[in-house]
Symmetry: C2
Subunit: 248 residues, 2 copies
């Protein structure tokens, strides 16, 4: 099932995909999901960030098998960095170099803490494409990565949530102006989505709509103003955002 | 003016203090503030966290003037750690030592980024008492402080917001089971509330209800299960929370 959050004249509404249409629903976190009776065609839908996280976590040094030697480590991003397809990633001259990082994003489905390997996936609503934009020019000054991770629209998410995806073996592609820049799989991550959830939920309470970015298996590039970056999760779709210089 | 968030049979409602009563209002972020017509007496009110932050920031090494030698540095806490007066601070055996830290908390009034010394206080709704609970037993393993700062109810806030308070010279007292354990003033902070806001808003977009904890001028103690800790901001009030061992 695909779940999107779509702009309407009465505000954002969640919807599920059926054929070429998106059928509006009351809440993706309810069971069963209740349809409102209204719908919009795929071509007319304007997609927003597919969830409204209160918590966004990312995983440091999780991009390659050898990084398993270090203990897992999560960092926090402000929930106000969540952005949707088409939102402009803000580059600010004074913060220096910025990179875009194509990652698998887990969308949490219910409040949870202390998940186990056995029940971790039960707490997941689904998966989406995530761009963990990072001002790497700040890292040296900023051991907590607060200055690094919280620029304007620094966590694009979307274009929708896919509930039927194998998070342990999902292809990730990074596109720059329509050209394939990098390609990898979540199978290359030091710790997989289940291990990441078990680790993160040991220390941080997660809840409906929260996002855990699984880490970047070398699917990154420097963001340059005026260029458009696509994060594709194979079998899910592509999240596209342009980078632009903004005043600061 | 004092602004509280109070539990009612129809859910949490904001209120302003008048004499011995709390007058319910529609939103503390609206101007002018609209009263609903209902009220509750002070003795009958059950106070919740006085705001609903999407972002909670704290300041590292900001407790004493000599720490001004290092650059300012903010860390993020999950918005799900926000708790109200009387909520139980969760101690977990496996995370080790936990401390409570009495701090002045800034409550942001509007969306802002890039504040200046001149306009920083215009973006503030008011101030409240904040307890920056921290699992210091995790710090050595956790350079981002993600494991350190995100335990259950690790950011008690309250009992209410005071709009008329001098944040540059506010007394802070830490109480343990009714005994004064430590006393200090925000005048001892390495960087004051205005400087903290200017710094934080350079890198992190803040919005209505967000909280910035100003740092701990030695007003801290180890949290022990079964004991009650009070954070007093002089002229504002005292936020009290018990620590208890919880399963994890």
């Amino acid at each position: 099932m695909r779940i999107a959050r779509i702009a309407t004249t009465t505000g954002p509404q969640y919807a599920v995909a059926r054929g070429e249409s998106w059928i509006f629903i009351e809440s993706p976190f309810a069971s069963p999901i209740v349809e409102t009776g209204a719908s919009v065609s795929h071509t007319e839908a304007r997609f927003l960030a597919p969830c409204e996280p209160r918590v966004i976590l990312g995983m440091a040094h999780n991009g390659s098998p050898k990084e398993r030697q270090a203990p897992p480590q999560a960092f926090a991003k402000s929930s106000r960095t969540a952005a949707g397809p088409g939102d402009v990633i803000g580059l600010e001259e004074r913060v220096g170099r910025v990179v875009v990082e194509a990652e698998l994003a887990i969308v949490v489905g219910r409040e949870c803490r202390g998940l186990t390997e056995e029940n971790a996936l039960d707490a997941v609503l689904g998966f989406t494409a995530g761009n963990d934009v990072s001002a790497t020019g700040q890292m040296e000054l900023d051991s907590f990565w607060t200055q690094t991770k919280n620029g304007v629209n620094f966590t694009p998410l979307g274009p929708w949530i896919e509930t039927d995806l194998d998070p342990l073996n999902a292809g990730i592609r990074l596109w720059g102006d329509g050209e394939l820049l990098a390609e990898a799989s979540t199978s290359q991550l030091a710790r997989n989505a289940i291990e990441v959830l078990v680790y993160a939920s040991r220390y941080v309470t997660l809840g409906p709509g929260d996002v855990v970015l699984c880490g970047c298996p070398c699917t990154l590039t420097e963001a340059v103003a005026g260029h458009e970056y696509g994060v594709e999760i194979v079998g899910l779709g592509t999240l596209t955002n342009r980078a632009e210089l903004i005043d600061s």
